[in-house]
């Protein structure tokens, strides 16, 4: 029976893995991910979840064990944060290159040094080019829904890539919110039994992922790129189907709010998207034509959606919870790249905010919007990549 429960995003992520009928979980603890895997351990030991839980000795082994299990033909799940994700880096490439639909919750936490346990996107965005799909969630409901949707998507014959479902540490991971949990039978109907594109099989003894000469390698990479393009098309479809069945939808790739007639669009990811909505309401009340767009899916990057948004806007202000050192925020770069060849492309102003868990409130975002509006009226971005609320 469908029910509404009140719980943290980490517990909800564990519950989503259980309800997706994951068969193998391999995980290693790290703050602030720990309560995800503690929840799963509880499910497995209580007999509520029919799965193997491998308590591996590192995150690197967690990812490789998931690769092994998925290769042997079962649905897999893991979760990590920050340095744990960085330690997995090599294995992330191996998972996508092997075309295995592993789903992983990434509880975003800033990278050291110096140590930080608080959120930003420096962990997951550093893994941008690993061939993983990347989703960013704004609340606990979206964490649940996205994990279920991610399995549906990743196991589609046109995709067969792994996905990260990212949620910010503490802001979501340890925060209690009401979440609507659908019937297990309904989820089972939406998410059929795991069927991989390939498995280790004694009847069909192949060597998997063996050495590939330059004659073949590029084609394998091209197929991943094609799968990413397919995902850009499929994600909105799955989001709509899920919405029809379970009631919640997120606008597919980009969660847009009052963008139709907006002159300025505030572009965010994760929980900053919720704060941006509040900022938009406040600015709209003052008669300012501002909208917000939250990039829900960072890989594949929603280039088409962004260009569509850009058509009607005079300016896009990107707010990045991460920086590419020596350049700018990731969203800033990607938005510029997306609109560069478009006619009448809007101005793009970039802001860096909320690194290492510094609060980004609706007031912060309103301040960013006011500065952007000033530049928009002048027709010129006066400062490239402004760091918001930086100490003098």
């Amino acid at each position: 029976m469908e029910q509404t429960i009140i719980d943290t995003a980490n517990h909800i992520a564990g519950l989503a893995a259980k309800m997706a009928r994951v068969k193998v979980v391999a995980a290693y603890p790290i703050t602030p991910q720990t309560t995800v895997v503690e929840k799963i351990a509880e499910f497995v030991e209580n007999g509520d979840m029919d799965a193997e839980y491998i308590r591996v000795e590192s995150e690197h082994s967690a990812m490789v064990a998931c690769i092994g299990a998925a290769a042997a033909g079962v649905r897999t799940f893991t979760a990590t944060s920050s340095h744990g994700l960085a330690l997995m880096h090599e294995a992330l490439h191996w998972a996508s290159g092997s075309r295995l639909p592993i789903v992983m919750a990434v509880v975003n936490r800033a990278m050291g040094a110096p140590w930080s346990i608080w959120p930003d996107f420096s962990d997951s965005l550093s893994q941008r080019d690993t061939g993983w799909l990347q989703f960013y969630c704004a609340d606990n409901q979206e964490v649940f829904d996205t994990i279920i949707q991610a399995y549906k998507l990743c196991e589609d014959q046109r995709i067969f890539l792994p996905a990260m479902v990212c949620l910010e540490g503490f802001i979501l991971s340890h925060t209690y919110m009401p979440v609507k949990i659908p019937d297990q039978e309904k989820i089972d109907a939406f998410l059929p039994q795991y069927k991989s594109s390939w498995t280790l099989d004694i009847e069909h003894p192949y060597s998997h992922s063996n050495l590939v000469s330059p004659e073949w390698y590029m084609e394998f990479r091209y197929m991943i790129q094609e799968a990413m393009k397919n995902a850009e098309r499929l994600i909105p479809q799955i989001d709509r189907e899920y919405g029809r069945l379970f009631g919640s939808t997120y606008g597919g790739l980009v969660d847009k709010y009052r963008c139709e007639d907006a002159e300025l669009i505030l572009l965010t990811m994760g929980t900053m998207g919720s704060e941006a909505k509040l900022a938009v309401e406040s600015l709209r009340n003052k008669g300012l034509k501002v909208g917000s767009a939250r990039v829900r899916v960072y890989r594949p990057f929603p280039v088409t959606e962004i260009t569509k948004l850009a058509k009607n806007a005079q300016m896009i202000a990107t707010i990045d919870r991460h920086v590419s050192f020596g350049m700018e925020g990731f969203l800033e770069t990607e938005v510029k790249a997306s609109v560069f060849n478009e006619e009448d492309s809007p101005l793009v102003a970039g802001f860096i905010a909320g690194l290492g868990g510094r609060d980004v409130t609706s007031e912060t975002i309103e301040k960013i919007a006011r500065k952007s509006l000033k530049w928009m009226q002048k027709g010129k971005v006066e400062k490239t990549t402004e760091w918001v609320d930086l100490r003098e």
Partner: protein, 308 residues
């Protein structure tokens, strides 16, 4: 126990594989397939077998083979074992097959973890005592005095005693082997297959390319390694230590061939001095004193890992 006549005729290491002439690991791999048959999943990290199996779209392996990251053989095997449990496929044996670098150096963490978790699989280290695939760089398994490309004047440290490290995990079965003693190797593999839990077999596999000896002498070199006592053939079953033939006769040092007999045919030991040999012989005596003690300790029925 099989005899040489009873070795299966089936070949699962196919013709046209890409090993060097006289490759010890390739002989061991062929015997592994003969011993375990084709209901196995072979997990292979970066190692010589990456090359031996041949490049896409070909393979010389007639069993399903999962290539995996260098340090990850035991982690990938753990995942496969877990999946097979869920799929209720207990007819399939999971076998990790890694080189010495992938085992004693970069892969030791994942292996130690898998053993501690009592993962039900066979892990085999085929040991050619250096990073062979990258052109013979020193590994933790390279013996004292051996030339490698990164120890051009000879390694100054001793070989890591990996089988005993695995024994310290109190796993049900640890064994050493060498393809020069094929029946012994096959029997150990077969025994491992019947035991539940983590089984570790360490195979000394001579490498003409890296050890710099004539490719026709691989079997002979393996025999000499054992006959000199430098490589002892033994099993540790539930903590009980047992020397296997012909090592079981070598506690008496007069039965051991001189270390020089093994060193001379190999150009990698060219820089070894008489003083080095003395030192090596002293270590050898210490090792064999330990084996003698372990044999004695294991004689009682109640012997277990407490004595190792």
């Amino acid at each position: 126990m099989v005899t040489i006549k009873e070795l299966p005729k089936e070949e699962y290491l196919l013709k046209g594989h890409a090993a060097c002439a006289g490759c010890g690991p390739a002989i061991a791999l062929r015997l592994l397939f003969k011993a375990l048959g084709n209901k196995i999943f072979l997990v292979v990290p970066a190692c010589c077998t990456t090359v031996i199996q041949g490049p896409y779209p070909y393979t010389s392996s007639a069993v399903p083979l999962q290539n995996i990251l260098f340090e990850s053989t035991a982690a990938a095997s753990s995942g496969i074992v877990a999946a097979l449990r869920q799929l209720k496929r207990d007819d399939i044996t999971v076998v990790g097959w890694a080189g010495d670098g992938g085992t004693v150096d970069i892969g030791i963490q994942a292996l130690s973890g898998a053993a501690e978790r009592e993962t039900n699989f066979i892990y085999i280290c085929y040991d050619n005592e250096a990073y062979g695939n990258t052109g013979m760089q020193r590994s933790g398994a390279t013996p004292y005095g051996a030339w490698t490309t990164t120890t051009p004047s000879g390694k100054q440290e001793r070989k890591k005693d990996m089988p005993m490290i695995m024994a310290a995990h109190r796993i049900p079965y640890v064994a050493t082997a060498c393809p020069s003693f094929p029946v012994d190797l096959v029997n150990k593999l077969r025994k491992a297959k019947e035991i539940k839990g983590t089984k570790y077999i360490h195979i000394l596999a001579p490498c003409p390319t890296g050890w710099r000896y004539d490719a026709s002498k691989t079997v002979e070199l393996g025999k000499l390694a054992v006959q000199t006592g430098l490589w002892a053939l033994y099993e540790i079953e539930n903590g009980k230590f047992k020397l296997d033939s012909p090592s079981d006769r070598l506690i008496d040092r007069s039965k051991r061939k001189p270390v020089r007999d093994y060193f001379t045919p190999q150009a990698r030991f060219r820089n070894v001095t008489d003083q080095d040999i003395k030192r090596i012989e002293q270590w050898l005596d210490e090792d064999w004193e330990r084996y003698r003690r372990l044999v004695a300790d294991s004689a009682s029925d109640s012997a277990s890992y407490g004595k190792i």
